[in-house]
């Protein structure tokens, strides 16, 4: 085994056995899952069954809402109009959660008013709307046309003017996709900061406890730097893999047990059977659920996340190692972290800018700058690249790795010259001299 591999293995072992690493590995994804759970709880059904009173004075719906019973709704009909006060106060209606007023002119004005005791979630609203709309379509077909229901659905859509970007006809660049990319980019920044600080503290500690002299008598500074950065980097990848696994399992569990009706599989299946358009189906799902379970291309995002994280980690990690090797004491190192944190925040801000102004000249430039590209490119990737534009992704990755190698070479010089300086005050001139030597 090479000396670099021996150092890599030691660093990796130290990280994997440290309590903070184990804690972060388990708690990190649990926090992410808890946040997702909160979001889902807000968009998911609060009640298992909603009691609905349908006020259908003209008995337009013929006491019938849908062919099959929906477990979400227990429906009763009344051929009268009950005003809001009466619905709210009359004990006769106290068991009903919702009232749906089907007015006489609903066929022409398409206006349905729903009153509630406890506001239903967006999900419940959409589902109820979907069911009522389907029933209304049946009535319209029955009453006013000779068409079959399927035929009517095929032609019933009102004329819609849909504006589309000529460069993005599939309208992939919906902002929500950008936020997914931004979330991945933020995760990169979080990992870069966490593991960058681990490198800095590790180097500064080796200096302060003087083991560095013993190590340098056996290995050269480049081997020591490479082993340290690789070892900690592998620990980061292991942590990310465990995070991904726990989050994936967590999402699966949420979808199958805690929020089984989230994705409305029955709705989608039913819609398909009834020939309802795709647009309608998507309109019946919460955007967050849709984003989380249907829109994120996890494989693609994770592969490029790992690649950009590795590039960013080597790039920023070399800077953190430089600081660790330059400072006279561990406490000095904390001060010099501030510029690094500033740079990482700049990367985060660039990602935010890329979400809001995709395709702008500034974003184009920032996507090639190694300090910002790991975040900006994740946003770009989430929005998707047009035909013939994917070279930007690979070129940016190439530039990042090339810059990382350059910074790594500089870091090795600082490392070589700075490691055996103890207790000094760091000056820019001294760093420049170390770089020249």
């Amino acid at each position: 085994m090479s000396k670099t591999a021996i150092i890599t293995f030691r660093e990796l072992k130290e990280r994997l056995s440290s309590r903070s690493f184990i804690g972060m590995t388990v708690l990190g994804p649990l926090v992410v899952l808890a946040v997702i759970y909160l979001f889902l709880s807000m968009t998911a059904t609060e009640k298992s069954t909603w009691n609905v009173l349908i006020m259908d004075k003209n008995e337009l719906f013929e006491n019938k809402l849908q062919p099959k019973e929906d477990p979400l709704f227990a429906v009763d009909f009344i051929n009268a109009f009950v005003d809001y006060d009466e619905f709210a106060q009359n004990p006769q209606f106290e068991d009903y959660d919702l009232s749906v007023w089907i007015n006489e002119k609903v066929v022409s004005n398409k206006n349905v008013i729903v009153s509630y005791r406890e506001k239903p979630s967006e999900h419940v609203q959409r589902r109820l709307q979907y069911i009522v709309e389907r029933r209304l379509e049946e009535i319209m077909v029955q009453e006013f046309t000779d068409l079959k229901l399927q035929e009517f659905r095929a032609v019933k859509q009102p004329l819609q003017f849909t504006l589309k970007d000529a460069n993005d006809p599939k309208n992939k660049k919906a902002t929500q996709n950008g936020w997914v990319g931004f979330s991945f980019g933020s995760l990169i920044v979080l990992f870069l900061l966490t593991f960058g600080m681990t490198i800095l503290r590790g180097v500064a500690r080796e200096k302060s406890n003087r083991i560095v002299e013993l190590l340098l008598a056996s290995v050269n500074p480049r081997q020591l730097l490479t082993g340290k950065v690789f070892g900690i980097g592998i620990a980061a990848i292991i942590q990310f893999t465990i995070w991904s696994f726990i989050i994936a399992v967590g999402l699966w569990v949420m979808r199958t047990t805690l929020f089984p009706d989230l994705s409305d599989a029955s709705l989608v299946a039913e819609a398909a059977r009834q020939g309802v358009s795709e647009v309608d189906v998507y309109a019946n799902q919460s955007p967050f659920v849709e984003l989380l379970f249907d829109q994120i291309q996890y494989t693609n995002m994770i592969v490029f996340f790992v690649l950009f994280f590795l590039g960013g980690y080597l790039f920023y990690g070399a800077f953190f190692a430089m600081i660790g090797a330059s400072v006279g004491s561990e406490s000095d190192g904390q001060q010099f972290v501030i510029p690094m944190v500033f740079l990482l925040l700049l990367a985060l801000a660039s990602g935010y800018y890329a979400v809001l102004f995709p395709g702008s000249t500034a974003v184009e430039i920032l996507s090639f700058v190694p300090f910002t590209s790991p975040v900006v490119l994740m946003v770009d990737l989430a929005y998707g690249f047009g035909e013939g534009e994917s070279w930007k992704l690979y070129f940016s990755l190439f530039l990042l790795l090339l810059s990382a190698l350059g910074v790594f070479a500089l870091a090795a010089r600082i490392y070589k010259n700075g490691l055996l300086h103890f207790g000094h005050r760091l000056r820019l001139g001294q760093i420049m001299r170390w770089l020249k030597n």
Binding site: I6, E213, A217, L420
Partner: protein
């Protein structure tokens, strides 16, 4: 074994070592002496290839010193550190492997040395649980684990109690008897006299003195004699007159004195005996050799004075 030829080292504009040449032979202990800031640590870092010399070259055996000799050199730096959270055995195996041992050999050697120094029961202890002396032993093992041909020890005895000090000395002498070359940097002059065969004294980056310990002591002897006698001190002093100078005197018991004398003019021991034998009863006369501390001070002090002027 090791030959250093006109090594110089500059840090920016500051000259830290200037044309230092010396050698270390198999089966010999070389004492590297010098006041603080003399350049000893830099010299040892150069020997360990941690820093490169600005000028000069070093030969190891028949070859120029290079990375491949790392496994043949053992180093105990003065500023000692270990990874505090690692276990003793794990740490030693790690350092042994960095010095070129394979995992199996590193484990075997660790076991052997822990047993030899009577600390096998510590092998699962974390470094942070060890006392300073215990950690020193672990560091010593790290320096010798891979059975180097050249051992460079910087202040190897600091931090040891007298019992462990004797153990360490014994081990170093054992290495010498096995034909290894040993370089010891220390401020402990008693150790130098007891252990070292030769010394190299450097001051302000320059070589001041080099040679065999006994020869240096003889060369530095300023014809000092210690005389133990019974009789009258005043009569003794009067008899000496101007031919001899009393540098030290003390009454050992009633009427018995011990006096250190320095010869003046061309007087020798015969003249001394002739002068005093009729005045007092002579019990013992011995030649006084200068201590290494005296030699060290004699060579370092004048340079300090020059600098202060």
């Amino acid at each position: 074994m090791l030959e250093v030829n006109e090594i110089s080292k500059n840090f920016q504009r500051q000259k830290v070592l200037s044309d230092i040449s010396f050698y270390a032979r198999e089966g010999e202990i070389l004492g590297l002496l010098g006041p603080n800031g003399a350049g000893k640590t830099t010299l040892m870092r150069i020997l360990n290839q941690i820093v490169k010399p600005t000028r000069g070259h070093i030969s190891f055996g028949e070859e120029l010193l290079s990375e491949k000799h790392i496994s043949k050199i053992g180093y105990l730096p003065e500023e000692r550190g270990l990874y505090k959270t690692m276990a003793v055995e794990e740490h030693l195996v790690f350092l042994g492997r960095l010095r070129g041992l394979n995992k199996k050999a590193a484990i075997q050697q660790t076991q052997h040395w822990l047993e030899k120094l009577g600390i096998l029961s510590w092998k699962h202890k974390r470094i942070e649980e060890l006392s300073k002396g215990m950690a020193q032993k672990v560091q010593f093992i790290a320096a010798v684990l891979h059975e180097p041909d050249l051992l460079i020890l910087d202040e190897p005895f600091s931090g040891f109690d007298p019992v462990n000090l004797r153990v360490m000395r014994h081990e170093i002498e054992h290495f010498k008897n096995e034909g290894k070359a040993i370089i010891i940097s220390t401020h402990n002059m008693n150790s130098v006299e007891e252990l070292c065969d030769r010394v190299l004294l450097i001051n302000k980056g320059e070589k001041v003195l080099e040679g065999n310990v006994l020869e240096l002591q003889e060369a530095q002897t300023e014809l000092l004699f210690a005389v133990t006698f019974q009789g009258n001190m005043l009569a003794f002093a009067n008899a000496l007159w101007v031919g001899f100078e009393i540098t030290e005197k003390k009454e050992v018991s009633e009427g018995i004195y011990e006096v250190t004398l320095q010869m003046r003019h061309d007087n020798d021991i015969n003249n001394l005996l002739q002068t005093i034998m009729n005045v007092v009863k002579i019990i013992e006369v011995t030649t006084v050799k200068p201590s290494m501390e005296a030699i060290f001070t004699a060579h370092v002090e004048p340079q300090k004075e020059e600098r202060s002027e």
